[in-house]
């Protein structure tokens, strides 16, 4: 017996991402979780600067385009002014880990009661595919045409592991992916856990999502999914790094 599945009503218009981009799936999962928790009138999505800034016209809940990298800091302000509101900071790897690493870490350090969702596609997608902190060793980008040299640029950053090990009081930390049906279903569980943790006042929650970027990787959408499932998933293990504690 087939189960009916409807696109959430808060997603009215189509978003104009590239074909095969993973952002569309993440946005839909967030909308599904908001709808299931009946928080449509009581949530703010705080969008950083990146390709995903294109989603703001399509998501019909309160939303805000924050300064580049400052999503976690601005979400802190929203949450402190409206403690009962579901505050989501939606960022990318360049936004949260490169330009805004100070704000991202500080929000976790203060154990601010917000949810940060970062989408990691291993480059700066919006500006044309430059090398970011999460670019894989040897990956060719427009600013590393011979492949990333980790001798001089360091190894890719593992932000969720860093938060989970440095700040053990945070509520929930996990990494998911959008490249297999099972992963998408798991990711929805992670996002729901994070939202529930926030609504129960348990503290900071962070979800990283591995997402393909077919345009900047120079691959077809299907090839880019294979790359995430192979090389990228091997370096960035999926799963939960900090589980919620029963209160």
């Amino acid at each position: 017996m087939a189960v009916a599945k409807k696109i959430p009503s808060i997603l009215s218009k189509q978003i104009s991402f590239c074909p095969g981009c993973g952002h569309g799936v993440v946005v839909r999962l967030i909308a599904e979780c908001i709808e299931e928790m009946k928080q449509e009138k009581n949530s703010i999505i705080n969008v950083g600067v990146g390709c995903y800034s294109l989603m703001t016209p399509s998501v019909e809940i309160d939303r805000f385009d924050s300064l580049h990298g400052r999503g976690a800091a601005i979400s802190t302000g929203f949450k402190r002014a409206n403690p009962d509101t579901l505050v989501i900071s939606y960022q990318g790897d360049g936004d949260a880990y490169s330009i805004g690493i100070g704000e991202s870490v500080s929000a976790a350090y203060r154990n601010e009661n917000i949810t940060v969702i970062t989408v990691n596609n291993t480059n700066y997608g919006m500006t044309g595919g430059q090398m970011s902190a999460t670019t894989m060793p040897g990956q060719k980008t427009t600013t590393s045409p011979l492949g990333r040299n980790c001798q001089t640029t360091g190894m890719p950053m593992k932000f969720p592991e860093m938060i989970a090990s440095s700040f053990p009081e945070v509520a929930y930390v996990a990494r998911g992916s959008v490249t297999k049906p099972a992963y998408v279903n798991k990711l929805k569980g992670y996002i729901k856990n994070a939202f529930e943790a926030q609504m129960n006042g348990e503290g900071y929650s962070l979800i990283e999502v591995l997402s393909p970027c077919p345009t900047n990787w120079g691959m077809s959408p299907v090839e880019s999914h294979e790359r995430v499932n192979g090389e990228i998933e091997a370096y960035y293990p999926l799963g939960e790094f900090k589980l919620r504690e029963e209160k």
Binding site: V3, K5, P19, G20, G24, V184, S220, H225
Partner: protein, 66 residues
């Protein structure tokens, strides 16, 4: 009909077709407003599992539940 296809949203990325367990998804010959050939679901093969809904990044598919 088990699946509604909003073909104006489709960008022909092919992720639905690769993940469909029954290989029921192909691409139309008709070009949509964006210039892509949208996905078409073969109703005879479709089992209404919803994997196309789960994987589609452009919100093309809706499962009716029939």
């Amino acid at each position: 009909m088990k699946v509604i296809v909003n073909d104006e949203r489709c960008k022909q990325c092919g992720i639905c077709a690769v993940n469909c367990p029954k290989k029921a998804i192909s691409f139309s010959d008709v070009i949509n407003m964006k210039g892509y050939q949208p996905a078409v679901v073969d109703d005879a093969l479709c089992i209404g599992c919803g994997i196309c809904y789960t994987m589609c990044p452009d919100w093309v598919f809706e499962i009716t539940g029939e």
